[in-house]
C-alpha cells in the first residue's frame, strides 16, 4: 500500500504500528521523495503480507490514526499460476479472453507469451494469472475453462496435486 504520512518524528512508526498490531508482516518500506508534494508530508510505500480478512480492519485503524491511504491492492495478487492455451487465439478475440479474467476484480492476466507460426495455423500462448487467493485462482481458471470450451481452444493447466 502507498500511504501519506506527516513529515514529523515518530509519524512513520505510528503509521506502521497498526500493521504489526493487525498481525501483518512488513516486508519492505520504501520512502518516495516527490517535490510536488504538499509540504511536510512524505509518501511511503509499504509492502506487507496480511491475512485477507484482516485488511478492512487495518484500513479503518489507519484512517482513524490520520494516515492517508493513497493506493491499495496493487500487491494483493500474490498467487500466480501459468496455463497454456492453444488454438485460434486471435480469431476468437484474445482481448475478450483476457478481459474475462481481468474483469473479475480478484484475478488478472499479468503475463503472456505467444507464438503464432502462421495465419492459418493454431497459435500457442502461455498466460500467467495472478489472484488474491486459492479460491479466486480456481474461479479464474474455471472461467478460462468455460471460455476455452466456447471458443474451441485447448487449455493446458498445471497439475494441482492433492497431498
Amino acid at each position: 500500500m502507498k500511504i501519506e504520512v506527516k513529515d514529523a518524528p515518530g509519524q512513520l512508526v505510528a503509521a506502521l504500528r497498526p500493521i504489526s498490531d493487525a498481525g501483518g508482516n512488513i516486508m519492505a518500506v520504501i520512502h518516495e521523495w516527490d517535490p510536488t508534494l504538499r509540504p511536510k508530508t512524505r509518501i511511503v510505500q509499504v509492502v506487507l503480507d496480511l491475512p485477507e480478512e484482516r485488511l478492512d480492519g487495518l484500513i479503518t485503524t489507519l484512517k482513524a490514526a490520520g494516515v492517508t491511504i493513497l493506493r491499495l491492492g496493487e500487491e494483493r495478487l500474490l498467487l500466480k499460476r501459468s496455463v497454456i492455451m492453444i488454438g485460434h487465439l486471435m480469431h476468437t478475440d484474445l482481448s475478450d479472453t483476457v478481459g474475462q479474467i481481468d474483469r473479475t476484480g480478484y484475478a488478472e492476466v499479468v503475463e503472456m507469451h505467444m507464438t503464432m507460426p502462421g495465419i492459418a495455423q493454431r497459435s500457442s500462448a502461455l498466460l500467467t494469472i495472478s489472484a488474491t487467493n486459492r479460491t479466486h485462482m480456481d474461479e479464474a481458471v474455471k472461467i478460462l475453462r468455460t471460455v476455452a470450451k466456447k471458443k474451441d481452444l485447448l487449455l493446458v493447466e498445471p497439475l494441482e496435486e492433492v497431498a
Binding site: 496455463v83 492453444i86 500457442s124 493447466e157 498445471p158
Partner: protein, 328 residues
C-alpha cells in the same frame, strides 16, 4: 496349478514363453489364438506350440476354440489375454463370465471387460468364491493394483494420478526434446512400433481413461464407467506449447487423475515442473497414489511390452497359486 491361456498376441506369447522358460509350478493345459486351439489335461509343450504359431500362424486345431477351452477345459485359472474391445468387451467378457461361473479363477490383461463390467465381474467372482485379477490392465509391469490392494491395505486413498500411456509419453518426450511437431513425433512412434496404425485409442486419452475407470473401481468400487471420464488427448498440442512450458522449466504430460473427494475423473495434458516425479521419459509410466497413512507413493516402470505385461499376469497367477489354489 493348471492354466488355460486364451489369446496369443503380444501378451499371450509373453506369458506362454515365460511359463515355458521359468516353470514356476504352473502347467498349461489349454492354449487358443483367434483361429485355433490346443488342449491337453496332462500339460502342453508350450515351446512347441509357440514354434508352430510362429511358423504357421495357428497354434493348434481350428476345431478347438477359445470359448470351448474356457467352457470345457481342465484348468484352475483362465488367463484371458485376447485383444481389447472397448465397445462390448467381447470375446473376453464371455470367456471371463464362463470361467467365473464355473468357479474358476481368472487373470486378465483385458481392459475392455474390466472397464465396462467391473462391478458385474467382481460380484460374479465373489459369488463363486474365486479370484479375478487384472494387474496387467493398468500400467503394464507396474504392480499398482497389488500396491493399492495389499501394500497400502488399511490406508484411505485420497487420489491417484499419473502417466499411464507410453505412446503419448513418447510423443511428448520427443516433442519437448527435439521440437518435433505432433505429427512428426507420432510418425516416429509408429516407426518404432510404439504407436498403432490408428493411434486414436492412445492419443485421444481413451486408453488412459479405461485405466482410470479400473483404478477408481478397484479403490472405491464406485461403478464409474468410461462415460464419466472427462477426456482430452494430446493430438492438438503444438510444438510451441512444449517450448513455452520449457521456458518455465516445465513440460507437458498426459495425466490421468481420480480424486473422488473433488468429483474429479479426468484425462488431460498438464503442465508439470521438469523435476516432478511423474515426468518420466519415453514409454515409461508413472503413477502416484495419495493416502492418509503412507502419504504419496509413486511407482515408475514399463507400461507395455510383451514380457513386461507378462510379468503382471504371472504375478497375479502366482498370487492365486500361493493363496487360493489348494495343493498349489
Amino acid at each position: 496349478m493348471r492354466v488355460a491361456i486364451l489369446g496369443l498376441g503380444s501378451v499371450g506369447r509373453g506369458v506362454a514363453s515365460m511359463l515355458a522358460r521359468k516353470g514356476l509350478g504352473i502347467t498349461v493345459t489349454g492354449i487358443a489364438d483367434s483361429k485355433s486351439g490346443v488342449c491337453d489335461p496332462a500339460g502342453i509343450d508350450v515351446a512347441a506350440v509357440l514354434e508352430k504359431k510362429a511358423k504357421t500362424g495357428l497354434c493348434g486345431d481350428p476345431a478347438v476354440t477359445a470359448r470351448s477351452i474356457a467352457e470345457g477345459g481342465e484348468y484352475d485359472v483362465l488367463v484371458e489375454v485376447t485383444p481389447t474391445d472397448v465397445e462390448t468387451g467381447e470375446p473376453a467378457l464371455t470367456h471371463i463370465r464362463a470361467a467365473l461361473a464355473m468357479g474358476k479363477h481368472v487373470v486378465t490383461s483385458n481392459k475392455g471387460p474390466m472397464a465396462l463390467y467391473f462391478r458385474d465381474l467382481t460380484a460374479l467372482a465373489e459369488e463363486h468364491g474365486v479370484q479375478l485379477r487384472y494387474e496387467a490392465t493398468v500400467c503394464g509391469a507396474i504392480p499398482i493394483i497389488q500396491t493399492i490392494q495389499h501394500g497400502l491395505a488399511g490406508n484411505t486413498v485420497h487420489a491417484v494420478y499419473g502417466v499411464m500411456n507410453g505412446t503419448c509419453n513418447y510423443i511428448l518426450t520427443r516433442m519437448a526434446d527435439e521440437g518435433l511437431t505432433y505429427d512428426q513425433a507420432l510418425a516416429e512412434a509408429r516407426e518404432l512400433g510404439y504407436a498403432e496404425a490408428d493411434p486414436t485409442f492412445d492419443v485421444k486419452g481413451i486408453d488412459t481413461a479405461l485405466k482410470l475407470v479400473i483404478l477408481a473401481n478397484t479403490i472405491w468400487n464406485n461403478g464409474v464407467t468410461l462415460k464419466d471420464v472427462e477426456c482430452t488427448g494430446i493430438d492438438l498440442l503444438t510444438a510451441e506449447a512444449l517450448t513455452l512450458a520449457g521456458s518455465q522449466n516445465s513440460t507437458i504430460r498426459l495425466i490421468g487423475e481420480v480424486v473422488p473427494e473433488m468429483g474429479l475423473l479426468r484425462v488431460s495434458p498438464r503442465i508439470l515442473p521438469k523435476k516432478h516425479p511423474l515426468v518420466v521419459r519415453d514409454t515409461l509410466n508413472a503413477v502416484t497414489v495419495v493416502t492418509d497413512m503412507a502419504g504419496a507413493i509413486t511407482e515408475v516402470g514399463k507400461g507395455a511390452g510383451s514380457v513386461e505385461t507378462a510379468s503382471a499376469v504371472i504375478g497375479d497367477l502366482l498370487f492365486i497359486k500361493n493363496c487360493h489354489v489348494k495343493g498349489h
